[in-house]
């Protein structure tokens, strides 16, 4: 099972809204490895990551009825919950989390660096994620890193600049332009 099929995820979420425990289990099996991997990259500590994943799925069960399929993809909705909970935990523990550079999966890194589009197509991810990967690959390495740091670690422009040992003005501009390029690129892909 995988997270690749948003239609299947939507069907499960709709059933979870009606308190279908079987569908909830299927949804968990299909999405928890991705979400756990994500939360583990944010929090690094397994114990915290497990707690956040647990809290998130309790939240998903309780709030599935409020999921609006026309507004967001199912993975987007679940990622929002998981990310918010993980950042809450970061603030709660008030501990310095060691940020390393291996945020992305090795296959994803290789695919992003490859000039050939095939590796991205063969990655185990949703079409939305593949589209983002295609557009992300067009950004410069440091721009990618600045955006990923902010996204994964809840960093301000200032903190990203510190991490990358670059002036804050440069980082601000890179992130802004990077986001702009991503939007344009993704809109083009959608239209294609």
């Amino acid at each position: 099972m995988s997270t690749d099929d948003p239609q299947q995820l939507k069907t499960w979420l709709a059933a979870v809204a009606k308190k279908d425990t079987q569908a909830f289990r299927s949804l968990y099996d299909a999405t928890s490895p991705k979400l756990f991997g994500f939360v583990l990259r944010i929090l690094i500590k397994r114990e915290w990551a497990e707690e956040v994943l647990q809290e998130s799925f309790v939240n998903i069960w309780n709030n599935a009825a409020s999921y609006q399929s026309h507004l967001a993809a199912p993975m987007t909705w679940m990622t929002t919950i998981v990310r918010n909970k993980a950042f809450d935990m970061l603030r709660r523990v008030d501990d310095v989390v060691e940020i390393d550079n291996d945020t992305f999966d090795k296959d994803v890194m290789d695919a992003l660096e490859s000039p050939d589009p095939t590796p991205i197509e063969s990655l185990q991810m949703t079409d939305n994620a593949k589209a983002l990967a295609r557009c992300f690959a067009r950004l410069e390495g440091l721009h990618q890193q600045a955006i990923a740091l902010a996204f994964y670690h809840d960093l301000s422009h200032n903190e990203v600049a510190e991490q990358l040992k670059l002036p804050i003005g440069t980082v601000k501009t890179w992130i802004r332009r990077g986001l702009e390029r991503l939007r344009i690129c993704l809109t083009k892909l959608e239209g294609a």
């Binding site: 289990r25 928890s32 756990f36 309790v58 967001a72 993975m75 990622t79 929002t80 994620a129």
Partner: protein, 240 residues
């Protein structure tokens, strides 16, 4: 600043909000505008759809089995899924040796306390005293409800000690759990205060060693043969 009419700024702030780089006062100001504007909400949703797949770039890792077990436990999913064998957890309860082992001791204590309480509270010494009593406890062993049975008046009085929060579409139902066979409904109990119910003739501790309260759909269990919801309180039914 109202960003409602400034498309470029709105887009930039929505992106920074979703990425997380919009912080402090600027973030709070943005959030207050976000609350009231469907336009900004849509913009944010679009940026979430664009950027959140970044989460999928990290390596997938299978969480340990205990995470699912904890979720199941927290949401009491197992009890709901055990609807296929409705008596399973009642049987478990009866077979729970530690429960029965503790029962003798608890019964004595309960009876002693209750005799004291009832003696103090009894306005007329000649009035018939309650003949049976049960103190129902929740899962944290806190006493939540006291049930007294008056055999001579065929009355059962259920008193809630602390107001219970129960969803509007749910009711609390009181059950007599016999040594053998299906639990028998004694009626619905209030979430607060005291309620009087009829006491069946043979509801003695010899035939009914245990009382339990379950959470049921509004109006009580739809199943004529017994409860459908989880047990919220339980306690031994003893003679005093």
């Amino acid at each position: 600043m109202n960003i409602q009419h400034n498309e470029k700024l709105r887009d930039r702030l929505s992106a920074a909000y979703v990425l997380g780089t919009l912080k402090g006062g600027a973030r709070r100001r943005f959030e207050s505008q976000l609350k009231n504007s469907a336009l900004i909400q849509r913009e944010v949703a679009e940026w979430q759809d664009r950027l959140h797949p970044l989460a999928e770039f990290s390596p997938a890792i299978n969480p340990p089995a205990r995470v699912w077990q904890a979720i199941e436990q927290k949401l009491v999913l197992r009890k709901q899924s055990s609807q296929t064998s409705p008596w399973a957890f009642w049987t478990d309860l009866r077979n729970d040796l530690s429960f029965w082992r503790g029962l003798g001791l608890v019964s004595t204590t309960v009876a002693t306390i209750l005799v004291a309480v009832l003696t103090i509270k009894q306005p007329e010494p000649t009035a018939p005293t309650a003949s049976f009593v049960a103190m129902l406890t929740d899962d944290k062993a806190q006493t939540a409800m006291v049930i007294t049975g008056d055999a001579s008046h065929h009355q059962l009085i259920a008193r809630v000690l602390s107001r219970q929060t129960v969803a509007a579409d749910k009711s609390l139902e009181l059950w007599a759990v016999p040594k053998q066979g299906a639990p028998r409904s004694l009626g619905l109990v209030a979430v607060d205060g005291t309620i009087t119910l009829p006491l069946p003739d043979n509801a003695t501790p010899q035939s009914i060693p245990l009382l339990a309260v379950t959470l049921e759909p509004k109006g009580g269990s739809p199943d004529p043969n017994g409860p459908t919801g989880p047990i919220v309180f339980k306690g031994a039914w003893v003679q005093i």
